[in-house]
């Protein structure tokens, strides 16, 4: 609970300016807190007269907190193939491990994945915990959770990172829950605080409108899912040495209550727009399925893929798998070119963390220009073919 001492409060309003949620305000000379306070503590730190205090109640610090050591990465694989995000996690994990002076390990579960273990070592791991078992060939929340939880309890790593993918975001929260561990979702930044070695985890929330830095001060392990395409993988080093530990997994951990009847791969889902670095997106302004040809040509020229607004999807010009936004996918490519998209908030929340946003729109007041890095006001039917042509020429140079 946030306690406000009106004797001390001078009504200066510094806290009011500090609160990202607009939850505290000065009324009649003293700060007043609203019920949307998230107890993040920003105001407490900002208060120069120490009029604010967060009452925590009795917090228990885990007794063996200092016994936990080492950085772990859950190396996701599907149908025998390692997911790209696993290499990205090893990239950032390597940095964290060096800073902490500890080992970096990867947990690799699946069927027929033994061959892939060396690629994880080349990507930065010191040690691989390998669970190669036919039962693990089909991802199921319960057995993956059982095995990971069992390993964590045995080896006690201080940090566990997993991809913020369909798989990572489904079973990792259960594992964290069962361990009583803190878990930060969908992180885009990770760092070690020098003073105490704590993992600082930064993530967007409220559809990317705010960023929060989160830590787990009293418990271990510290767990995080990390957004794909944000961290940098290392250059593979085939000379790197590492150890592969083959797990002997007790049978009871592999008993699943979930039966997989079928895996359906969807043709149009083969290209996952969340994993692509360059996206060219079309909206209502593209006008037709034929118009999307222009979008596709530009995307092809840039080695990227096609995305779309809901208006374009609802008009039937392009399948739903390409939709970006609140009810579609959240993407954060290096480059996002929005063509004939107005930039409604429900679209923006899905793409505003892209590194570079280019807007092409004939309406100079379209909200998309507020979040764009650069833009051209004009008719997309003129601009796009010209842009495609010039890029082609430029590449030929």
């Amino acid at each position: 609970m946030l306690i406000i001492d009106c004797e001390k409060c001078i009504g200066c309003g510094v806290c009011e300016a500090e609160c990202a949620f607009g939850a505290i305000s000065v009324q009649d000379g003293c700060a007043v807190v609203d019920d949307n306070c998230t107890l993040c503590g920003s105001c407490v730190e900002s208060c120069e007269v120490e009029a604010l205090l967060i009452e925590e109640g009795a917090v228990q610090v885990q007794a063996d907190i200092n016994d936990w050591s080492g950085i772990w990465v859950f190396a996701e694989s599907r149908h025998g193939k390692i997911a790209e995000v696993s290499y990205e996690l090893l990239g950032v994990g390597r940095k964290l491990a060096n800073q902490r002076g500890v080992q970096l390990s990867a947990v690799l579960l699946g069927s027929g994945v033994t061959e892939s273990a060396p690629t994880l070592i080349a990507a930065g791991a010191d040690k691989i915990y390998l669970g190669d078992d036919s039962t693990l060939g089909q991802y199921r929340e319960d057995i993956y959770g059982n095995v990971l939880e069992f390993l964590i309890k045995k080896e006690k790593p201080e940090v566990i990172l997993a991809g913020a993918t369909a798989i990572g975001r489904s079973f990792i929260p259960m594992v964290a829950n069962n361990l009583g561990a803190g878990l930060t979702a969908d992180c885009t930044g990770l760092a070690i605080r020098a003073e105490d070695g704590m993992l600082l985890q930064t993530r967007p929330a409220f559809g990317g409108n705010i960023m929060a830095t989160i830590e787990c001060p009293h418990t271990r392990p510290q767990m995080a899912t990390v957004r794909p395409k944000v961290m940098q993988p290392l250059m593979p080093d085939l000379e790197r040495q590492g150890e592969v530990v083959s797990l002997s997994i007790p049978d009871r951990l592999l008993e699943s209550q979930v039966k997989v009847l079928e895996n359906v791969l969807e043709e149009h889902n083969q290209v996952n727009i969340q994993e692509i670095e360059v996206l060219v997106a079309g909206g209502r302004g593209v006008e037709s399925e034929k118009g999307f040809k222009l979008v596709k040509e530009l995307a092809d020229e840039l080695g990227g893929a096609v995305a779309a607004s809901r208006a374009a999807v609802d008009s039937g010009w392009i399948p739903y798998a390409h939709q970006v936004g609140q009810t579609g996918k959240t993407v954060c490519p290096k480059l996002y070119i929005a063509c004939g998209i107005s930039g409604a908030i429900q679209h923006a929340v899905g793409m505003q963390s892209a590194e570079t946003i280019v807007a092409i729109n004939r309406d100079k007041n379209a909200p998309i220009f507020n979040i764009a890095s650069c833009g051209i006001v004009g008719d997309l039917f003129e601009i796009m073919p010209l842009l495609t042509k010039k890029i082609r020429e430029n590449k030929a140079l």
């Binding site: 107890l39 369909a166 929260p173 259960m174 764009a372 590449k395």
Partner: protein
């Protein structure tokens, strides 16, 4: 078939914006709504009830005002609403939220299925569903896009994956989190609205559900938000000038690193 649907009250995304002057989330004019994903979870629960009989209970943890989303749930077909509300819950992270929902469910009697939304559009973690399943030791599946069948204690579902979908079977009681593709939620009927108006929402405190003090709110949360900030506005916006062709040239120049 007794079904519990977990519903969170959230600020409406279309109103959520940064006040450019203060660089904080603007509060004025922001309406509180039912989390959009939870609307689909509710609809699915009501449809299952219509086919298999039973009761749908809408459950929420939140401030007293969250009562309104539970009334809305009743107007859309839920039989009753339960609100767990206590100042001591403030600052709960997903662990403490999952714990609190578990205690509330245990205090509310038998069930066959728990339905959650895939994620809440404010906290955005998608962790409460799987966390609650862990708390309750229930089999679970996330991102369900379709319930194909429910028969003889076995439920068959489609789980959306990054490359397509999986078809899975699991026994009930179970927990599912749902995505929006699962259905088109109905609008409340006039009769439903009348019922919602008259309904009494059960309100439970921390003591009522027997929650332990060290497991709820901030004290029960292993994570701590230590800093909240707004992303630096894009200060680098560049609008090109000149003829269209010149502008395109400048853009190509800008995009050089991606070629």
């Amino acid at each position: 078939m007794n079904i519990i649907v977990c519903i969170k009250q959230v600020p409406d995304a279309k109103d959520v914006r940064l006040d450019p002057k203060t660089n904080t989330l603007a509060r004025e004019g922001v309406e509180s709504i039912m989390n959009p994903f939870d609307r689909h979870a509710l609809e699915e629960g009501v449809r299952l009830k219509e086919t298999h009989g039973g009761q749908v209970t809408a459950l929420s943890m939140g401030p007293p005002q969250a009562e309104s989303v539970l009334r809305e749930a009743i107007s859309c077909g839920a039989d009753q609403g339960v609100l767990v509300s206590d100042r001591a819950f403030a600052g709960a992270d997903t662990w403490a939220t999952s714990y609190t929902l578990r205690k509330a469910i245990e205090a509310s009697g038998e069930f066959d299925l728990i339905l959650c939304g895939k994620q809440a559009i404010d906290g955005d973690t998608a962790q409460v569903g799987p966390g609650l399943a862990g708390q309750m030791k229930l089999p679970f599946v996330t991102c369900v896009q379709k319930i194909r069948n429910l028969d003889d204690g076995i439920i068959q579902v489609e789980r959306m994956m990054d490359d397509g979908f999986d078809v899975l079977e699991l026994p009930v009681p179970a927990l599912l989190t749902v995505v929006k593709d699962i259905n088109d939620p109905r609008v409340p009927s006039l009769k439903g609205k009348m019922k919602a108006k008259k309904a009494t929402i059960k309100i439970l405190s921390a003591a009522d559900i027997g929650a332990e003090e060290q497991c709820i709110g901030l004290a029960g949360s292993p994570t701590r938000v230590v800093n909240v900030f707004t992303p630096a506005p894009r200060g680098d916006r560049k609008m090109f000038t000149g003829s269209l062709e010149e502008q395109v040239d400048q853009l190509v120049d800008q995009l050089r690193s991606y070629l």
